[in-house]
Each structure stands twice: as structure tokens, then as C-alpha cells.
């Protein structure tokens, strides 16, 4: 049997003029790549088109219905958008503080010291076992009964970070436990103390593992920060609600707020994806 160059000649084309001709493997490889690229492009185009049809159709239907007041959006839109910096400020401060809580929480949960372990476990259990909304209002309305009066912004940030810190505590603990036992043993064998093993060997590796999780929590945080509107922090949702109820245009107001949160999470998710990719490349070093 005749064999093609570099291959068993079963792949080829039949045409009237050429008769049976063997394609060179390089040509076939190039054709496969091109066909994959075409399929990928087609998939993305249909995806975008579908979104445009759905979202655009919905927007057109709303505009057509005559029930949506464009002048409200023009008038109150900027007021609502001014809440974005507040939302971002609350989210960023809270996630930073939550990481600090989680670091201590995780060290406590990993501690062999019974009281420290008990305190950390109580923190996680209590915070995860009660609703976030209750915690936020508790800080704002219940603590003053004991003479602890925090301004709304401080209280809101504290409540959010305390709550997220408890969830992150368990993620941090899992991150530390994911470090192979050999790492600790190697550090021990060098004669390092428990303290420097944790600080120099375990934590730096664990933090790398949990950075994507922190990013995820930050994205959730931007949405959960809407809850602090309950304690009069003038972030996006607070502004939307007040603008809406004032002029009986809640639909428009909430739609603007929803769009703001949506766009923010899309942007952060893209950032998160890039971060995770970078971390994955960093794994080459790991």
C-alpha cells in the first residue's frame, strides 16, 4: 500500500480532477486549527448576539410599554451613581479588615492552645450561625444600649468584615492545611521554631492558595454591601431606594442599582479571572 509522507495515507481527499490524493500532515494540522478557530469565533458571536437580543429586547419592551419614565433616569441616575464610590469604599475596607480577622481566626482555629482554639471556634460558629442582616443592625441599634455608639460607616464596615472574616477564617485554615506535611517537616529538620515555620514557610504558601478565594469574597462583598443601606450609609442601594420611593419610581431606581452592581461584578470577575490566570502561571514556580 502506498504511504503518504510521514503518515499512513488514509486521510486525504477525493476530487474528480485529482483522483485520490494524500494531504500532507502539516496541511491537515493547519486545517484542524483553522476549523477550531472558526468554531470558537462562531460560538462567541452567537453568545454575544443572544445577549444583545435578550437584554436589548427587554429594554425595548420596557421603553415601548410607556411605563418607564426616562426623565426619572436622567434626573436621579447621577444621584444613584454617586453611591458607587461609597459602595467601593465599604467593600474594600471590609475585605481588608476581613482578611485581618480571618488571619487571626485561622491561627486560632489551628492553635493547640485550648482557650485560643475555643475563642476562634466560637467566633466562626456564632458569626456563621446568624444572619448578616441581624449582625449589621445589631451593631447599629443594639450596641448603643451598652453605650457603644459607632458611626454608621464604621459600624457597617465592622459588621461586614466581622462576618466575612468568619467565612474567610475557614478558607484560610483550609489553605494552611493544604500545605504538604513535608514543608513543615523540612523546616523542622532545619531546626526552625514553630513560629518561624508558620511565618516563613506555611503562611506565604497558604496565602497564595487563598488569594482567589479572597477575590471571590470581594465580589460577594460588593453586593452584600447593599445591606449597610439599612444603617443609612448612602451607598448605591440606599440612594436608589430613597430616590425611587420619593417619586414613586421604584422600578427605574432599582433597575439602575441592579445594573450598577451587575457591571461592577462583571468588571471584578474579569479582574479575578486574570488574577487566577496569573496565579496559575505562578504555579510554575511552585
Amino acid at each position: 500500500m502506498a504511504m503518504g509522507v510521514g503518515g499512513p495515507g488514509l486521510i486525504g481527499r477525493v476530487s474528480a480532477e485529482d483522483g485520490f490524493r494524500l494531504a500532507h500532515p502539516d496541511v491537515i494540522v493547519a486545517q484542524i486549527a483553522a476549523s477550531r478557530a472558526r468554531a470558537g469565533l462562531r460560538f462567541r458571536m452567537i453568545f454575544v448576539l443572544t445577549w444583545i437580543v435578550l437584554v436589548g429586547g427587554l429594554a425595548a419592551a420596557l421603553a415601548e410599554s410607556g411605563k418607564v419614565d426616562p426623565s426619572f433616569i436622567a434626573k436621579w441616575g447621577p444621584f444613584i451613581l454617586q453611591g458607587i464610590p461609597v459602595t467601593l469604599f465599604v467593600s474594600v475596607c471590609s475585605i481588608v479588615l476581613a482578611v485581618v480577622f480571618a488571619l487571626f481566626g485561622a491561627l486560632g482555629r489551628l492553635s493547640r492552645n485550648p482557650p485560643i482554639y475555643a475563642i476562634a471556634t466560637l467566633y466562626v460558629s456564632l458569626v456563621r450561625g446568624t444572619p448578616l442582616i441581624v449582625q449589621i443592625i445589631f451593631v447599629y441599634l443594639a450596641l448603643p444600649q451598652f453605650g457603644i455608639v459607632l458611626d454608621a460607616l464604621t459600624g457597617g464596615i465592622l459588621a461586614l468584615s466581622f462576618n466575612y472574616g468568619a467565612y474567610l477564617t475557614e478558607i484560610f485554615r483550609a489553605g494552611v492545611e493544604a500545605i504538604p506535611r513535608g514543608q513543615r517537616e523540612a523546616a523542622q529538620a532545619l531546626g526552625m521554631t514553630e513560629r518561624s515555620i508558620m511565618r516563613r514557610v506555611i503562611l506565604p504558601q497558604a496565602i497564595r492558595i487563598v488569594i482567589p478565594a479572597i477575590g471571590n469574597d470581594f465580589i460577594s462583598m460588593t453586593k452584600d454591601s447593599a445591606l449597610v443601606s439599612l444603617v443609612t450609609i448612602q451607598e448605591v442601594f440606599w440612594r436608589a431606594q430613597n430616590a425611587g420611593t420619593q417619586s414613586f419610581r421604584t422600578f427605574e431606581a432599582l433597575m439602575i442599582a441592579a445594573m450598577v452592581y451587575w457591571v461592577m461584578t462583571i468588571v471584578f470577575s474579569l479582574g479575578q479571572e486574570r488574577l487566577e490566570k496569573r496565579m496559575a502561571e505562578g504555579d510554575v514556580r511552585l
Binding site: R112, P180, G182, Q183, E185, A186, A187, Q188, A189, L190, G191, M192, T193, S196, R200, V201, P204, Q205, R208, D283, V284, R285, L286
Partner: protein, 327 residues
């Protein structure tokens, strides 16, 4: 249960200074009446072992025989249940009831400074460059300045032939290179004894040779080494003494040409037979069996007992023939 007899004055009946040991030297490592239980599993049943300076001692035996446990007890990665460990004159008694006692922990740290370990899985710190892996111990533990530590580290990195990998991350190195870095990391601590826990068992067969070569060079230069290994070729050429361990006790101990070449105990024979994949009968016509008389003579050129500085032949370890499957 009967009380477990322990005597701090036990001596290893098989210990004798190696060919490179300075005259009149005391043992640098002593494990005295060492016993280890995991729960009710009696893993080490009272082993006594002494290693003199500049000796290379190989521990061989089946998996689960207790050889790794013995090694890990020497630097207290496992707390022995009963017995004593002495390294460079510092004697520490097993304290299984209060292993986290502060004073005990400090003693253990002092032992570890003197007995550095090389692990099967390398255990390099992946988030640190090679050079930082090497200087971490000297700086944090011995309190050296960074400059001093780097000078020492570079010396040993050069010794294992990886000076140019100084600023790489471990993830970019091959397994053999990682293990050589791990050896350099242990050397940078300038310990009294090196402990090797199956240093080539995690390596691709083609990468075993480069690690073995470094270890042989160390052995020939007079490093004190205790090596848990399945590499019989290494044991044969570099060891002063071979300890065959089974069921947590030493079954047969002696120079490699006795224990490996002509074992007396049937258990040793059975182990070696399995290790070499066939009956332990020297034969000339297979490449998996032990070398024939002719091979042995050729090998002896490189034997440690006949080694002198400057006479190192290029030892070539191929993946075939010298590579022995773990028993």
C-alpha cells in the same frame, strides 16, 4: 506489659571506625535501645547503633521494616517511645509523654542543627528561590548574617553542580536538580551528620545517577552519612557498614561486601533476592543480578575503602543494571 529495659550504656556491637574516621574518634551518632510504637504497633524493637565520624552507613530493608522510622527518630521528626539519641555528644532521651515540653523542644532543635535530613520528596520551599532555600536555615536558625549565609550557600550549591540555578525557583528544576539543591540546603547548615531518607526513590530512573554521584562524592570526602536506600549499588560502593533491618530489629550488620555480597541470614538473602528480582546468586550472564566476580573487581576500583583524594573515576550510573526496584 513487661517494663521495657533500657540501658544508657548500650553499645553497638557492630560499630567500628570507618576507613576515613580519624584515629581515636568517638561516635558522632548514637541511637541507644531505641523503640518506637505507633499506637500498639511496635515499629522499632530496641535498636542500638553507632556511627563514627566520616562513616557512611546504609540502612536497608523492606518497606515497613522500620528503617525510615529509625532515621526519623534520630532527628526527632518522630518522637521515639523509649531510648536515647546522641548526636555530637548531645544526648537526648525520648520523652513521648511531654514531646512539646519547651526544654525538650530546644534539645531537639539542637540535635537537628547537628543532623540535617534530605527527604525522599525533596521538600524544597517552593515560594523561595534556590539561594533563599539554602540560606533560610543558617539565617533563621544559626543566626548568620545574610552575606555569610550566602557565601556558604554558594559554596555548597557549586559543590552539587548547580551554581547557575542560584536564582531559579524550585518549580523550574528537574527532580534530580531539586534533590541536589536539597542536599546543598542540608550541607549549608554544616551539620555533623547527614540523614538521607530514600533520596532517590521519588526520582525518574534517568535522574538517579546525578544524585547518587553527589552522595558518593560526599561519602568519599569524609562526610558522615546515614542513608536509607534501595540503591544497592550505592550501598556497595560508598557504605562502610550496611544495617539490614526487619521487623524493627537489626538482622544483619556488616561491611557491604559481607551483607550484600554474601549475606548469612536467610531473611537478608530473601530481601536481596527480591530486591534484585531473582535469587541472590551471583551470575555472570544477567545484568540485573549482582555483578559477577569480574564485575566486582572492576567495581572495587571505586570502593570507598580504596579511595584516595584525586582518584575519583567518573562513576556512571545508567538507568539499567544499577537501578534496583524497591523491595
Amino acid at each position: 506489659m513487661d517494663p521495657i529495659p533500657v540501658s544508657a550504656d548500650h553499645h553497638d556491637p557492630y560499630a567500628k571506625p570507618g576507613t576515613l574516621t580519624p584515629a581515636g574518634a568517638e561516635p558522632v551518632v548514637r541511637a541507644i535501645d531505641l523503640q518506637k510504637f505507633y499506637g500498639s504497633n511496635h515499629v522499632l524493637r530496641g535498636v542500638t547503633m553507632e556511627v563514627f565520624p566520616s562513616e557512611t552507613v546504609c540502612l536497608i530493608g523492606k518497606s515497613g521494616s522500620g528503617k525510615s522510622t529509625l532515621l526519623r527518630c534520630i532527628n526527632f521528626l518522630e518522637e521515639p517511645t523509649v531510648g536515647f539519641i546522641e548526636v555530637d555528644g548531645l544526648r537526648v532521651a525520648a520523652d513521648p509523654l511531654r514531646p512539646r515540653n519547651r526544654q525538650h523542644q530546644e534539645q531537639i532543635r539542637q540535635i537537628r542543627l547537628r543532623a540535617q535530613m534530605v527527604f525522599q520528596e525533596f521538600n524544597l520551599f517552593p515560594h523561595m528561590k534556590v539561594i533563599d532555600n539554602l540560606v533560610e536555615g543558617p539565617i533563621r536558625v544559626k543566626g548568620l548574617s545574610r552575606d555569610q549565609a550566602i557565601a556558604t550557600a554558594e559554596k555548597y550549591l557549586d559543590k552539587v553542580g548547580l551554581a547557575e540555578k542560584r536564582d531559579e525557583y524550585p518549580g523550574r528544576l528537574s527532580g534530580g536538580q531539586k534533590q541536589r539543591v536539597a542536599i546543598a540546603r542540608a550541607l549549608t547548615m554544616e551539620p555533623k551528620v547527614l540523614l538521607f531518607d530514600e533520596p532517590t526513590s521519588a526520582l525518574d530512573p534517568t535522574l538517579v545517577g546525578e544524585v547518587i554521584n553527589v552522595m558518593e562524592e560526599l561519602a568519599h570526602e569524609g562526610a558522615t552519612m546515614i542513608v536509607v536506600t534501595h540503591e544497592m549499588a550505592f550501598a556497595r560502593e560508598a557504605a562502610d557498614r550496611v544495617y539490614f533491618i526487619e521487623g524493627g530489629t537489626f538482622v544483619e550488620v556488616g561491611p557491604p561486601d559481607q551483607v550484600i555480597e554474601s549475606p548469612r541470614d536467610p531473611r537478608t538473602r530473601e530481601f536481596l533476592a527480591r530486591t534484585f528480582g531473582k535469587a541472590h546468586v551471583p551470575s555472570a550472564d544477567t545484568d540485573t543480578a549482582l555483578p559477577s566476580d569480574a564485575d566486582t573487581r572492576a567495581t572495587q576500583v571505586r570502593l570507598k575503602s580504596q579511595w584516595s583524594p584525586g582518584s575519583q573515576g567518573a562513576t556512571s550510573y545508567g538507568p539499567v543494571g544499577h537501578r534496583n526496584e524497591p523491595g
